[in-house]
Symmetry: D2
């Protein structure tokens, strides 16, 4: 299995299955001297933690990270940071009845075909439990971004048909953390929460959109031609479980605009070059121009629903199947910190790559 | 400048500027013994060639590829294929007046900031002229895909507000090549062409969507967790000039669906496992499941318009600027073969990576 | 800190310091279905273990590996294998007196200069304790090599001036494991052991040569031009602590030979192409030819000696220093399994890369 | 075919066969603004050029490099530099008679086995003609190293049994360029030249050693644990055709030294930390310490000799074969600039990687 490493210089190599002993990873490229604020890392993990609210899975994981190397007296030494998060509340027996069943729209069938063997318990490696490692690496990236004053905020901007119509710069994004669905508009948040709760009672699931905003972006990040800033960011987001689409700036809305409507004219803001508008989303020619970066990430409704579905099993028989286990009716609230983590990792990596020009 | 190589095993490293001597590259991972059909490669280049129709730039490039290594007696030897496409019809003097001007929504400003120097002629490295190298590598990838019967078809599915409403499997995709906008529905094509022509006369530009479909996809392609099939594909597409968004399967439409509406139930088609529906777009858990892959790629209207715009120059002065030069009012028709090329390269690379399990 | 990953497809990413909580890593590219024989892995670790004999350091580490992922029911699932070896017998206080002292020919000074901070305890990341992770990855590589019947044997062929004159094919290499210095000639082994013991009593250290032999090598391994088989193998060996040189085949002895003396003539052995001699060491043009691979790895005497030495400290003062701590007078006996581990990892990786031609 | 790229940030991707149209490559990571001194690049190529003296092959190649991108007004723009060196004096017909014959100790057999097809003319990709691309990339690396005052000198220190006994710091290394064998000691040079001439007349070939010295090395280069400075350097050198061994510092001589004899004690040279001796060869713990780096590279006698030899052909028949074509009796004089080129590339790459700590 390839593809377990993300990044060029700031790198996370992750390991671990949903119902194995532990999930963890190795982080390379932590700047020596960085203060490793364990409370902050834990607070980020808590944002992703299962069981945090009425609209998330009740699986109870403390998700306490244990760092095994690369830190001395609270500071990063620059050597790789190995870390583990022990799995505690695995109920593998919940999965006994689906050992041989390919759950619809899950990775069961494809993993079995590709590897000839799979850990069926809770989705094994294909479970979003893997993303706990990303949140650790993202938290450390955020600690490193402090000195650049880079600010990353993600929030839920759509759940089902309920859309937040306000633009990111019309709201206080910090308010997203004040409600359990992580939408910065309290009123819309309540609608989303009510809808998710309804879906949960219906034993169904629902998708949505997470918007991610990066402010105070250094000019010059991104490596044309193949590793454009937004291409790296896109891969990062598309690698998150259940993601089906990515757009930045005007995104798909740019398709029915004219150049004269979409172009961002430059002007001088004192001695600083800026753009009057920011339809580009802070990226031009694959390189950041210093304006805010904003992106949308589309999540499908997660595949696990508690209704009966028709499918087939490993023996090639058509069967009806009802999944047990504990699941999120809507993955968005817990995915917000994951989106931020990926964005933070890309930012640090791009900043590193850009140092070659120093 | 990093980021000039695409792929893991089947790799293209490209070089070249819009108005330099040549654009070219090195292709690694060509299967020894592959018949290098130069006519086919040229026909692919012709699909991307400027000056091919009334709705594309009149810049006249023959775009004839010269292969310098890796081929003997018409067959690939497996060694790297160096190749060049000589730039012929450069009119660098067209760019004299914008040498120091940052054109709105172009890469002029970001390149200057990142590198401290830039080749301003025709956009230099940031020009889509670079993609001619991708079409060569994509054509060779297609030659290699023959033995897998993999079929890749891209087409223009939206120009401005004109959308092709038919699904990909309701049309004969080969018909896309029968009109100059590359839309498989003749009627919609005529509307698109008329609209682009109008935009051209208005000295403006317009965006759109290209849909790409891959049939006969081997099961098992893609490398979770970070290099999922669609994450690689997304990066590939987002690395194309002017692309602002990417989605696969139901994409952003999945956001307001419920799991019970989105899930693809499995059934037995003889002894083959298949899905009744294909909302997943042929990928589950980041790995192909053998169903058709379909994706949408969003293009903004290209930044070059022939209207006067306000901007700033290198000296920090606000100036009005009118661009000369020869440009496409709509990049979509010529981008269709580029999208196919990127898809073909990802396919070959993923097939190679999957061989480790043999 | 870059450079913590070894390999292209079969990859080890290692972490950990000598006196931190643990050393460990992530192994990618384990073939799904491989039986993970923990007893074998442990037996390899035991060969490297400190405290195993009178001529090694008395530090007492059980070096028991704990595998955290990638294995189910005793078989590899193909997902990454995270693992840790907990450090037990750290005596960090032994290093209090050298916290600020740059020990001669150690990594103290260079780490401090490069990272601006370092874990001084036992050498931190620069300690050969890191190699315990390599032995785990090497052991699993060996398990995977079984199906190819590849056989890897390393042994001590020189300690100080005591040289084993017999060629590798004049001895039973398995006998190397019958004595504590790991030399397949019992008589020479006794001389080596006596000499190391003398050196130990003199509070000094001594270097030597490890020879590594690979039999049943598949034809075709190695990737010209930069990643030639022996170039990869050379990098692997030179990355081991205290290694100062690498040669394969006739190595430096080839320098004063003529082509007519060095060339290996081909002949037919039944229907198999073979060479009459094997001065090439099984590699021609950077690719294995199926003959035995043999290589020499030169180890310097390790820098830690218990004699007083003159040096400087972090404050820029010249000081006399006597090192405490527990150390090997000669690293060769414990380095034999490390050399084998690196060889095994390269072999698996090259076999994987070669599968692209299937 | 993998392995055509060398380096992490400063990268060369090379292509080309001995008797194809051209050899060339793509260089990435050239610092924007670097003055591209074509005369200097050509002078480096001239040092490697065939036909330069009585003791090299008479093949007549001007080896004029044509740069296709990445340079404007004589300065690097930072974008990739594509370049070609056209093959002029190919006499492919010289190779007609060995089309199906596996020349002893050549890459003929291994390439045929690995790729199932090969360009037999002049060794195709396995020919040292490929190294002309390395010399271009090395020359540009040297231009970039000017600002660091890094000085790289390689020279022939052994030919057959004729050894230069003086240490590198006992000679004026620039004198190496004053004679055709590139040995800085005029007297020893004459012996070497006479010997090579004798070997040439005997239709034989001979090996030797090239020593490479790097002065003014920045402290802190190299990436432990796997990409140690000397491990990268070792791979670089071992990737050169005909190289059989690599050592740095005391190298194999360190094996019979004691720690008390080998250790380099530190002292204060004003406010600079230095070592009294430099047995380490400027590298400790895989990281440069600022002292001179010195390394030896062992070359076998090249396989092409004009004597009759016994071998087999593709049809599995044992045959006698006499090679025609034009060849070097001793590769050392022309390999000196190649060794320097590889050293320069590693230096630039390591300097780039070290910038992450800025």
């Amino acid at each position: 299995m390839a593809g377990n490493t993300f990044g060029n210089i700031y790198k996370l190599t992750s390991f671990g299955e949903s119902h194995g002993k532990a999930v963890g990873g190795v982080i390379e490229g932590v700047m020596p001297g960085t203060e490793i604020d364990l409370d902050f890392i834990q607070s980020e993990l808590n944002r992703r933690r299962p069981g945090q609210s009425a609209i998330t899975t009740p699986r109870d994981e403390k998700d306490k990270v244990e760092i095994l190397s690369g830190v001395m007296d609270g500071k990063a030494t620059g050597t790789p940071m190995g870390f583990v998060i022990w799995n505690a509340d695995q109920r593998s027996k919940d999965y006994g009845n689906i050992k041989d069943v390919y759950r619809p729209s899950h990775a069961d069938y494809t993993y079995q075909q590709k590897y000839g063997i799979r850990d069926h318990r809770g989705g094994g490696r294909s479970s979003a439990r893997e993303t706990v490692a990303r949140v650790v690496a993202g938290a450390i990236a955020k600690l490193m971004l402090k000195k650049y004053a880079v600010q990353i905020n993600a929030y839920t901007s759509q759940v089902g048909a309920i859309k937040l119509e306000k633009a990111y710069n019309e709201m206080d994004l910090a308010k997203a953390e004040e409600n359990i669905v992580r939408c910065p508009d309290a009123e819309v948040a309540q609608q989303m929460i009510a809808y998710i709760d309804q879906v949960r009672q219906d034993k169904d699931s629902v998708g949505g959109v997470i918007t991610c905003v990066i402010k105070n972006v250094p000019v010059g990040l991104g490596e044309p031609v193949f590793d454009k800033f937004h291409a790296q960011m896109g891969q990062a987001m598309l690698s998150i479980n259940a993601v089906k689409g990515f757009e930045y700036g005007m995104g798909f809305k740019a398709c029915d605009m004219k150049g004269s409507e979409h172009n961002d004219e430059f002007y001088m803001d004192g001695d600083k070059v800026r753009t009057k508008t920011n339809r580009s989303g802070g990226v031009q020619g694959g390189i950041t121009n210093g304006e805010d970066v904003y992106m949308n990430v589309a999540f499908k409704p997660i595949a696990t629903i508690l209704k009966e579905q028709h499918t087939v099993n490993k023996q090639g028989e058509e069967v009806a199947s009802t999944v047990k286990g504990r699941h999120d009716p809507c993955v968005l609230p817990r995915a917000v910190p994951i989106v931020e983590a990926m964005a933070a990792m890309v930012m640090v990596d791009m900043i590193y790559l850009n140092k070659m020009y120093l």
